[in-house]
Each structure stands twice: as structure tokens, then as C-alpha cells.
């Protein structure tokens, strides 16, 4: 991966993006490898969509540059970037049939074998029977697939997907997840997808880019970020519920499962308790602040209002470089 042709297939250099007065992304640097599936993860409003729009050329950077496949495309219009974008709203053309939606870009390119290529695209997403339908007559999941096919048939250098799963119901979301993985494996296409759902990023991505307030907080594989978050923010995003200051500005973080209840040096009062299948989740009020813990359902049960001893074992904590 040291060859820049593949390790910097898409490269964002000191990218600053702004709307009118708000700076949405501030001096962002990111290299995306050829053929990887990368997730932009972060809370709503942190600049994920804005970053995508800049890669696609829909937004001119205030400063910095965008490179794709070795070429500086900062000033290249979206129509000539060879980038695909599946919008969060799908953005299908409501006046065109499914077939014509998928054929839209191919027609502009005057590609031969149009029909075969459109059908191949629809096949990839499993929608061949729907070619004569209007977008309004499709379910959300089907519209999403059309949008995906419309981008895939263009064989873009990078495929960007903005929250591709967030508008789908839970069952469909799992189905689309495997679908995206399969498409990526089969086509070997470089994919960037945006999500605010930590579990989704962990399940799908080769690497995760965790964003915060228009900047990158941490980049790494799912395991790296999950097991070694660098900051309180990253830890919070990765499901560490109890975060306490440590030495020299650093911190310690515990997942709910790492907190020991019923014995230990500290005392807390149970504020909330809820059943979660195999485990029971508790919220404690303690001198350290609010502590979230979950314990196997087989262990002793505590009632709301009860004083409980607890421990935050040092050995099951994760060390954070920064607490904020």
C-alpha cells in the first residue's frame, strides 16, 4: 500500500469547505486506498455530506485540493470527475422510468449496448422486473437500489454513498448491508459511505474515518477504533459509557459490561434499570457522575433507588490520550 497510485487513490489535502458563513470542514487531510470500503462516521452536522459533495465536485473548496487517481480535480466539474454519488434522498428523476433512470448517464455518454448495460446494472441490484415502473411506485429500498444501479453502470472511479441505510427499516438495512458488501467485493470499486451509526461502520468498513466538527478525530480499522479510541469523543461514539479523567489530560473509559456491580470500593444509587435480553442495564448515580453498567441476567437483580457497591477495574479500562 505504499504505492501512491493505490494508497492515495482519492486524496483530500488541507480541504476547507464552507457555506456562506459557516465553515463546515476545516483543513481535512485524508487518503483513500484503491478498492477499499471506507466509512465516514460522525454525529449529524459534523461535515460528512459536505465532504462527499466536495469529492463529487458539487462544492468548490474554500482552500485545499481534491485528487482522484493521480489527478488534481479540484477545479473539474462534477460531470467530468467520474465519481458516483448515491444521495441520501436517492435523487431519482421522478419523470423517468426505472430503466431511463439507470440509462441516464449512459445515454449522455452515447454508450453502445445501452439496453444490455442497463439490464446488467438492474441485475446487480436485483430489480430487473421493475424496469418500466416510475420511481414513485417503488418502495424506499427499491429506490435506493435504482439509485445504486444508476451509479454503478457508469463504472465510476469512486462510489460515494450518503447514509445509504439510514432511511430503511431494520430488516432492509441488514439486507442492504450485505448487498453493498457483495457489490463492493464483486466490482472491486472504491467506496466511501457516510453513516452516523457506529455499528454500521464497524460491520462494513475496511477503515473508519471518525469525524467531529468538520475535522477528523481518528482514522483506523474497525478493531483499532473500537478497541483503542483516542479521545473521550471517540470512546463515547464507540459505546464506552463511563469516561473518567486520568493523568495528564488523558482519560479512562469503560464499556457498560466492564463495570462490576454488587461489590467494590464505590457506592452508587440505581436510577434506572431495564431488561435487554441476555443482560440487564443499569444507570447509577455516583460521586463520579452517571455510570452505565450492564450485567448478565443471571446475576443478582437491583431495584431502583437501591444503594449498590460497584467497581471500575483499572485492567478492563481503555486509556484515552484525551478526555474531551
Amino acid at each position: 500500500m505504499s504505492d501512491p497510485a493505490t494508497s492515495q487513490y482519492v486524496s483530500l489535502k488541507d480541504l476547507t469547505l464552507a457555506y456562506d458563513k459557516t465553515v463546515a470542514v476545516d483543513r481535512l487531510n485524508l487518503d483513500i486506498h484503491k478498492g477499499e470500503l471506507i466509512a465516514l462516521l460522525g454525529p449529524s452536522g459534523c461535515g460528512k455530506t459536505t465532504t462527499m459533495r466536495a469529492i463529487a465536485g458539487l462544492l468548490t473548496p474554500r482552500s485545499g485540493s481534491v485528487h482522484i487517481d493521480g489527478r488534481d480535480v479540484t477545479r473539474v466539474p462534477p460531470s467530468r470527475r467520474e465519481v458516483g454519488l448515491v444521495f441520501q434522498s436517492y435523487a431519482l428523476f421522478p419523470h423517468l422510468s426505472v430503466f431511463e433512470n439507470v440509462a441516464f448517464g449512459l445515454r449522455l455518454r452515447r454508450e453502445p449496448d445501452l439496453k444490455a448495460k442497463v439490464m446488467e446494472g438492474l441485475q446487480t441490484v436485483g430489480l430487473t422486473e421493475f424496469l418500466d415502473r416510475q420511481p414513485a411506485d417503488l418502495s424506499g429500498g427499491q429506490q435506493q437500489r435504482v439509485s445504486l444501479a444508476r451509479s454503478l453502470v457508469m463504472h465510476p472511479k469512486v462510489l460515494l454513498l450518503d447514509e445509504p441505510l439510514s432511511n430503511l427499516d431494520a430488516r432492509l438495512r441488514l439486507e442492504m448491508r450485505t448487498e453493498l458488501q457483495r457489490v463492493q467485493r464483486e466490482t472491486g470499486i472504491t467506496m466511501v459511505f457516510v453513516t452516523h451509526d457506529q455499528a454500521e461502520a464497524l460491520a462494513l468498513a475496511d477503515r473508519i474515518v471518525l469525524m467531529r466538527n468538520g475535522a477528523i478525530e481518528q482514522i483506523g480499522t474497525a478493531e483499532e477504533i473500537y478497541n483503542a479510541p483516542v479521545s473521550g469523543f471517540a470512546a463515547d461514539f464507540m459505546g464506552f459509557e463511563t469516561i473518567l479523567p486520568g493523568e495528564a489530560g488523558g482519560g479512562l473509559a469503560w464499556r457498560p459490561g466492564a463495570v462490576v456491580l454488587g461489590k467494590g470500593p464505590h457506592q452508587g444509587q440505581v436510577r434506572g434499570a431495564s431488561f435487554a435480553g441476555e443482560r440487564r442495564e443499569y444507570v447509577l448515580e455516583s460521586p463520579f457522575g452517571t455510570i452505565k453498567a450492564d450485567v448478565p441476567i443471571s446475576e443478582t437483580r437491583f431495584e431502583i433507588g437501591q444503594q449498590v457497591a460497584f467497581d471500575l477495574p483499572r485492567e478492563s479500562a481503555v486509556e484515552l490520550a484525551r478526555i474531551d
Binding site: S79, G84, F104, L108, S151
Partner: protein, 275 residues
Amino acid sequence: MFENRAIGLALVLPAAIFAAALFLLPVGILLSEAFRTDTGWSVSAYGEFFASSRNQTVFFRTLKLASLVAGVSAVVGYAAAFAIVNLPASSRGRMFGLVTLPLMISPVARTYAWLVILGRTGFVNKFLVDLGITDTPLRILFTETAVFIGLLQLFLPLMIISLVSAMENMPRDAVPAARILGANWLQVFWRVILPLTREGLVIGGTLVFTGSMTAYITPAILGGSKVLMLETLLYQRVTVANDFVSASVIAMILITMSFSANLLLKRLATARKSR
């Protein structure tokens, strides 16, 4: 909506009676004027009207100017509407207000302003003379150009309003999606914006065309008796010649043209859509 249809009917009845008694009936009487002759019913009044070459000139001038104003306002309107829709929310409202402001100013005042601007000593002529583009001031007032300018300014806002609301109803990302799929701006317009804003164009086009055809104050002041339009001719026939038959013929022509324009535009819109 109402549990009882009778309530709904009762609510529209006063308005319906009002419209029928005070609008449809007089219009019917006026229009029938042209078909009544001493010996019975006939359409000969129409033949006589069009036999006059002055009337023909006025008819075709009206048709030409109204079409031209509608056409030019469509072109300018699309550009303006697209720009407005893409402004940040804060300035969008302000710009929209600015565009619609002329609608709140009396057409008489607005048209008189054109007299000042376009007159022999107005600032268009002063500008042209000062720059040496022309030695003697041009005659702009009382020409078709003056009427065209006045009508365009009068009705362009209606086109912009129709197109802005049509564009606001387009799916938000349709244009960027087309751009990313390789469309240049011209292709984006023909393949995405136009088909998705046809209804707005039909409404705007009908309003502007009909409005230009039936405007009275603007052609009267900027065109005078040199550039008669159907509406100014109608007024002249009634007040100067007490010729109610011609007036009735003109009224009928105006109504027919308005409806035809609307039908034609609608036809154009659906024809392209079902392709």
C-alpha cells in the same frame, strides 16, 4: 371534507350566484352582440372585422408581442428562478421580495416611470448620446419596443414566481445527480429542469401571455394610438366610435386566444412528458 355535501354546496352557492349573475351573464350578452344582426344570427361581424387591414395589424401585433413577452420572460425567468432557488435561505427571501416588488407598485406609476426612462431626454437616450452611439435621440416611446419593454417588466415577476415555486418542488438533489452522471448545464436543463417544471412554465406562460394580451395601461401609455393592441383598440372602438360590435368581436378574440394559449401550452407540456 364535509360530512354533508349540502353544506359544501351551500358554502359555494353565494359565490356561484354572484359570478353567474354579475359576470357570466353580462359577458354572455356582450359576446352575443357580435352575432346579432338586424336579420337574425350571423358570424359576419368577424369577417368584417378581419377584412380591415388595420384590425389585422393590431391582431397580429398583439399576438406577436404577447408571444414575445411570454417567450423572453420564460428564458429570463428560468435563469432568475434557478439563481433564486440556489441562493442561501437568508438571501433567497430578500431576492424573491425584490423580484415581486414591482407587483405591489401601481402599473400606472410603473408605466409612467418608463416614460421618463425611455423618452427623448430620458436616461436611455442621454446615455446613448453621451457615449456617441447615436447623434440624435432615438424614438423609443410609442414603438412596439416600448410596449414590449413595459409588458416584460410588468409580467416577468409572474413568470419568475411560477418557476420558483415549480423549482422548489423539484426533488432537491435531481440537478446535482444529473451533473454527477455527466450532464452539462444545457443537458441538465433539457433533461431534468424543464420536464420537472413544465407545470410552472405552463402556468407562468399562460399568465404572461394572457396578461400581455389584455393589458391596457401599458400599451395605452407606452404605445398610444400609434401602437394599438387589441385591448387599446377595443377601448377606442367603444369610447370613440361607440362601436359595440367590434368591441364584442375583440373581446371574443381575446378570450379565445387566452384559452387556446393555455390549451396549447398544456398540450406541449404533456406531449414531451409522455415520451
